[in-house]
């Protein structure tokens, strides 16, 4: 449903990265990890379309949920200026989420940049499992939610592109290294295309369960306009499914990158 939701908290987490907490009993109760909301950043014709943003966490008791966004263009810039007690026009929760792990499983999440946010929600909702987070950031000053990830993971491994914090290089490096020693039951990934592609390929090659959360430019956000196409296998052929409705989460082995 489309609703005007009240902002109960905003916080700048790093340069150009903001957390927003919204009041919504419905979303707080019904959202599952991997789902997103579709936001109208302002009334009127500016930033005309809605912007899809992942749900970071929900608080069913307070009736609130959080999302974190990075300022990229016009829409997210407008969002970054909103304050407590302002209202945001949201549709959601939308899309299909992750398959939750079962008790006792070994879970690895691999996230890069803005791709880490839906993975946080997944970790928070996965209980009685062993959890490792591989998180890739551009540089030390773009690291966000480190403490939060540490709270919901057994181990957090951080990489930066420029080596200013943690391991220097891409997250795929420590991921591969650890794979030499142990095998997870489930891998979940979200982030830049080259990263999710190599994680998916590595998992498929080794027969490891892997789910990928995809991004695509959207129109309606509910499956009607067919613009958010994602190429998936279909027998010997392929088909375009739709990120907003069939995804954003897809099984790795179905995707054609």
């Amino acid at each position: 449903m489309s609703n005007h939701l009240k902002i109960v908290e905003t916080k700048m987490l790093a340069e150009k990265i903001f957390l927003v907490r919204l009041k919504s009993e419905t979303i707080a109760k019904s959202a599952v990890p991997g789902q997103f909301i579709n936001i109208k950043c302002c009334d009127g014709l500016d930033a005309f379309l809605r912007r899809p943003i992942s749900i970071l966490r929900t608080d069913p008791y307070e009736g609130t949920f959080d999302f974190v966004f990075m300022v990229k263009g016009k829409g997210t810039d407008i969002l970054s200026r909103l304050k407590c007690d302002d209202f945001i026009d949201c549709m959601g929760p939308l899309g299909k989420g992750f398959t939750l792990p079962v008790k006792g499983e070994k879970v690895w999440v691999v996230g890069g940049g803005i791709g880490i946010f839906p993975l946080f929600f997944l970790l928070e909702r996965s209980t009685d499992v062993q959890k490792t987070s591989f998180l890739g950031f551009r540089a030390k000053d773009s690291i966000v939610l480190q403490n939060e990830f540490e709270r919901v993971s057994d181990k957090v491994i951080i990489t930066t592109d420029d080596g200013s914090y943690g391991i220097h290089g891409l997250v795929t490096k420590p991921f591969l290294e650890r794979l030499e020693r142990e095998k997870p039951d489930k891998v979940y990934t979200c982030g830049p295309m080259p990263m999710i592609k190599s994680i998916a390929e590595i998992c498929i090659e080794r027969g490891i369960f892997c789910e990928v959360s995809m991004e695509q430019r959207m129109g309606c956000g509910i499956g009607a306009c067919l613009v958010c196409a994602c190429k998936v296998k279909h027998g010997d052929d392929f088909e375009y499914e739709h990120v907003c409705k069939d995804g954003p989460v897809f099984p790795a082995e179905r995707l054609i990158f």
Partner: protein, 301 residues
Amino acid sequence: MDLSVNIAGLRLKNPVIAASGTFGFGREYSEYFDLNKLGGISVKGLTLEPRKGNPPPRIAETPAGILNSVGLQNPGVHAFIEHEIPFIRKYDTAIIANVAANSVEEYCTMVEILSDADIDAIELNVSCPNVKQGCLLFGSTAQGILQVTSAVRKVCKKPLIVKLTPNVTDITEMAKAAEDAGADCVSLINTLLGMAIDIDSKKPVLANITGGLSGPAVKPVAVRMVYQVANSVKIPVIGMGGICNADDAIEFLLAGAQAIMVGTAGFVNPNVWVEVKEGIELYMENHGFRSVQEINEALIV
């Protein structure tokens, strides 16, 4: 006060129709509002065989509008008849089948098939800018429209609407050709061919390079074209292009459109169709109009 309109045998309980390609087959939006409130639904453009559509990205946001290059992704006419008509029929709203094809023969085959299906009208899409062959080629010349429409007319047992492209020098010529060939109605406008470039990557935003412009940005062009066409043919006109609210819709009705379609605006506001319908009702009440036809005749120039 009577909101119903009768367009060459197509009876609509109100003049608000969901525009083709923006509304799927109604399933998704049925979770957002009561489809019984719609005058009709023009379904996603159908082809004889299923079509995969174009690679993504298929959408670019532009000032007050969007470019799309979906490329007629659809399950094919047979799947439509089998799976989608029964769904839409649960609602009291007209079903308009939007038809695209690559050749005159294919248009005729599809219209023959659809003439025996449980639908209320056929909208010939001779104006899709996002497929390589056929379609737009027919719609870009009066000769092409004449050729397709007259062939289809012979096999069509439903009210026949021809959907016009704005990407022509003189749209009234196209409308006249459709009328001469026996169309019952024309609908306009389809999208305006456009392009957007990402200056950082230096690549076109759309994988297809070009796409069709829709949304509020096109509205003044659309109103002008509807006005011109309504004044040059006798058959009814369905107007669309950038309608976001009742005021926009009423402009089209004043310009001479007997009914209107709304598409892109629904991406932002899933309740737009209901709001437009209710707003038209309120306007009629406030201005003392008893029928939509009275609005059509009210423009002062």
